[in-house]
Symmetry: C2
DNA sequence: GCAAAAGTGTTAACAGTACACCCATGG
DNA sequence: CCATGGGTGTACTGTTAACACTTTTGC
């Protein structure tokens, strides 16, 4: 069981890596073993919690990896999960037991076994999901500004979105609630904070894979 | 390892089920065990081949299922694959060793273990994928007509698409090559056969998960 | 008062939707 | 000659995409 943990530091989309193994020379994904009475998802939650102290986090099964030679020592199957965490919540909760560190997805070190493939696939999946559904909030604090959200999407897709179209599109979902408060200290004018309309958002997340096109609405 | 095998009989979207287990009283998905030197995908291909004699088939990992009590006898993890097969190719290749039979997805018998969940998830995934990418061809013979294709999509989504809009959308992908030949015997006028522009299609399939939105092209 | 980021509106092109008629042919 | 399914076109509507100027405020 391995975990691809995504974060966002305000500029870069990042992945959390640890030093693991006997030699502790190479970086790897956070991982662990499935316990006898755990479901896969429970194990993924536990592993995430052990490293970050976080629970109630966006978590999704990515894929099972089972190349017979992926681990040169023993034949193992790994089910990879990926999660989106709010880096601010995490901060110092980072378990001291692991040497863990965030890396930009555009500047990763060599990784153990097939962990590089896992990260690549996770990035693809994240891009895929985030393009179809408004998921970005999962990587931002409770309160965030539209420019922050745009920077996140810029980072995910390594591009630059048009801020006018971007904010129109986001706001048209009616998923964001504008707060009276402004972000201070970053820009002179200050940007309004927003927060997610949680009930509405959760209704959506439950059904990402449930969306059935109505007649003539296929989207090729 | 379990396999959700989809087919299309011209009217209904169907799933291939077998009688398995000691008592052979309940239906189940086709499954098998991973061999020591096989990758997951190789195992899925082998299992599919053993039952249907087919290879070179659309095959995709669905999910790993690992509820601790999914199999009441032993703790097992199952990686489920789903595949789309051309029923016509298959026909009598059906291995006699297994009692196998096609069921409409709208009329399934009770299934072993969590196989019902697997099928449900596979149907969702198929709907999801087919709405975003032109995959339907995988379930039809080499040569097929537009009305056949429309019937397939009607069956997948349990709805009725508008034939004018449907054919315009399909043809606008430029993925279909019109043949000179007409289907005879089914309708009086006869419908033209088409076949897939394979190179173009394969380029696409390789990148279903690679599609990166260009700026301002997110699709919420 | 100016630099830097926030915020907002308009237009043109395109895609999606709804809808109806003619065509070819076997019987 | 008529019933059945095959094939096509058009007008309307909504969405996407491209683009530029004004506002606020810390310094």
């Amino acid at each position: 069981m391995d975990s691809i943990i995504f974060g966002f530091d305000g500029e870069q989309l990042t992945v959390l890596l640890v030093k693991r193994g006997v030699e502790e020379r190479t970086w790897s994904l956070m991982g662990g073993w499935l316990q006898p009475d755990e479901s896969l998802e429970q194990a993924a939650e536990r592993i995430l919690f052990e490293l970050t102290g976080l629970s109630n986090v966006y978590l999704e099964q990515l894929n099972a990896f089972g190349d017979p030679y992926r681990d040169p020592i023993a034949r193992t199957i790994s089910v990879a999960y990926f999660s989106l965490v709010k880096v601010a919540d995490y901060e110092s909760k980072l378990s001291e037991a692991h040497q863990a560190s965030w890396f930009s997805i555009y500047d990763l070190p060599p990784l153990l076994f097939d962990h590089g493939d896992m990260v690549d696939l996770a990035i693809k999946r994240l891009r895929y999901i985030a393009a179809l559904h408004p998921t970005g909030f999962e990587l931002l604090p409770e309160k965030f500004t539209i420019p922050q959200l745009k920077k996140l999407y810029d980072a995910i897709y390594n591009t630059e979105f048009d801020k006018r179209n971007f904010s129109r599109k986001i706001l048209s979902t009616n998923l964001l609630i504008k707060l009276d408060e402004k972000q201070r200290g970053f820009s002179k004018r200050g940007a309004y904070f927003y927060q997610v309309n949680l009930p509405k958002y959760q209704q959506l997340t439950n059904s990402f894979l449930n969306v059935i096109p109505s007649p003539d609405t296929m989207n090729w």
